[in-house]
């Protein structure tokens, strides 16, 4: 992927660029908002990571200007403010995702992958049937089958599985699940998500040889055919 980083903090910018290059992305950097807007509108990009507070042109204004020109480029906003309202204003300005500093690199990577895939899989999101190996989920009839066997899930487990299937093959973090399935933007002190996942795992993997739901150490979970 070709990713643009607009960040004025040099240490954060360098580390981010290095980390993204290491996993195989090509990276452009901009140190202020104006430069960022210029690059974002002239270079072919797959994604932009924009700091919220930038010199010359504020991160929110950058995203707004970008959207005003009709560019659909996925944008992840990084913010050092990060309270309840800032998230809403960030998304309202045209951001596709919002992450508060300090963040874990694994969290950022997972969100970048999800954002990039969202563009590709625009049609899959609307599809009524989701499929992975022998696991099938029908969003219309709300039925889940694996290997021809019906799997009984609660409403919440169904939502959880649906979210995992829409992000199959990617790492999904606990915060992403909490946001995507429950629409909550805080970290509970209790390991609530882990327990929900282990129940889902019981339901879909227990009676089958090949597990589909994997734990990704230090990052989150992933639903995929590969080990």
């Amino acid at each position: 992927m070709h990713i643009l980083i607009v960040e004025d903090d040099q240490i954060a910018r360098d580390y981010l660029a290095k980390a993204l290059r290491e996993v195989g992305h090509s990276v452009d950097v901009a140190v202020n908002g104006l430069e960022g807007l210029h690059l974002a509108s002239s270079v072919a990009l797959d994604l932009a990571i924009v700091d919220r507070m930038l010199p010359k042109l504020d991160g929110l204004a950058l995203v707004q200007s970008l959207r005003a020109t009709g560019r659909k480029l996925p944008v992840l906003i990084l913010s050092a403010l990060g309270d309840v309202d800032d998230r809403i204003t960030g998304l309202r300005a045209g951001g596709d995702d919002y992450l508060t500093k300090p963040y874990h690199m694994s969290e950022l990577m997972a969100r970048i992958d999800a954002l990039a895939r969202r563009g590709e899989l625009g049609s899959a999101e609307a599809a009524t049937k989701l499929k992975l190996a022998d696991l099938e989920l029908d969003r219309m009839t709300r039925r889940v089958m694996r290997g021809g066997k019906k799997i009984e899930l609660t409403a919440r487990e169904f939502q959880l599985l649906e979210f995992m299937m829409r992000h199959s093959g990617q790492v999904v973090t606990r915060t992403m699940l909490l946001e995507g399935v429950w629409d909550y933007h805080f970290d509970p002190q209790t390991n609530v998500i882990d327990v929900h996942i282990s129940r889902l795992r019981q339901a879909i993997d227990k009676d089958f040889d090949k597990p589909l739901l994997h734990t990704v150490r230090g990052a989150g979970y992933s639903l995929s055919e590969d080990e």
């Binding site: 309840v84 309202d85 300090p102 429950w182 390991n191 609530v192 129940r199």
Partner: protein
Amino acid sequence: MDQEQRFLGVLASSPFRIAILYSIVFALGAVAMLGGVYFAVSRVIDGSTDNLIEAEVQGLREQVLVLSRSDFIELIEQRSQDQEVRGAVYLMVDPQLRPVAGNLPSWPKIAADQGKWIQFKVAVPYGDETRVHEVRAQRFPLPGGYRMLVGHDVQERQDVKNVMMRGLVAAVVLTMLLGLSGGFWMGRRILAHAGAISAVATQIMRGDLSQRLPVRDAEDELNTLAREINGMLDKIEQLTLGMRTVLDSAAHDLRTPLNRMQSTAEAAILQLDPASPERRVLETVTTEVDRMRGTLDALLRIALAETGTVAREAVDLSELVASIVDLYAPVTEERGIKLENDVAAGAHIQGSRQLLAQALANLLDNAIKFTPQGGRIRVFLRNEFGGPEVIVEDDGPGIPADKRELVLGRRVRLDQARKLPGSGLGLSLVAAVTKLHGARLVLDDAGPGLRVALKFRQT
């Protein structure tokens, strides 16, 4: 319904009540003044006719002694015809009460024991119609069993009295009407103004500090008051915005170095061998950064809630409580804790869904932390009359009554909790969020355990 309520509202307003009081006072004044006039005028006109009759009776009593009967009869006839003495009434009857002379058609039927003065009604022809007039008279015997009646038509004076009485009643009614309608008008005006003020005040309480009270183009007390309150609101808005700016820059200035620390440590970790002691040190650094971030998030959210400037939306509290219960249900089950809930449907409030969700999550985190295996946590949402009430109850050790106020302060952790994880800000955040929503936070003994109740107001 709305109109009716507004009408009743005006009736209950203080200007209207003052107007009622003053109307009554003025009406009493009108009664006293016009009543006095009525009384005095009545006395004067009553007295003058009575004197006239007295004099006539005296005169005739003297005449009857010196005149023969036929001359007396002629005198009576003459007096009866006299146009100058308008309204004079005479009647002379024989012992069988048959009229002999005078201008009355018959002797009035009056009980004998009526005393000196009698009053009766007579039909008087007026062109085609007849009218009933009031006559006041005296009677006296004549020689030979004849009787004499001398009186006066008092209808006119009765008319004057009636007119005066009607005037009096009309004056009282008019005073009351003017007073009441004036009061109603004033009440409505003031209520409209007060209503506008209270509507804006509600919006301001909900966190929209940009709102100002309406000021009309007049120099009355309400406008002066509204202007002064607006000045106060300018000050408050300025202070709150200042607080937010400080919060924002504090957030920025703390998160940026934390982010650098995290980035640098993570980058270094990737270069190191998993077993190296340096790596373990750096992993401790990232764990501590996480902890600091948790505390910072909590502190910033508490401070934010306390500025009261969080955006509000319509929140389905029933859905929210049910979803939090749903989020925590598996975890409690795994720990051998029974999570019971009874969530009433249809509870809606204005507020911040995220902050409310976090407050409820904090309460459940706490309850789970303090509830032993085999214990029980109960979550209720009741739609009380005054507003919805959320209750989280555990059967853990509870909080002693004298420490309940204390734990709501920042970073207070009771001795028994020191060995448990947590920032000690959980309940402080609950308290700040509760306050932000104009709700009441009540800590109670669940016997055994802690009962936390969030009592919201109806919106």
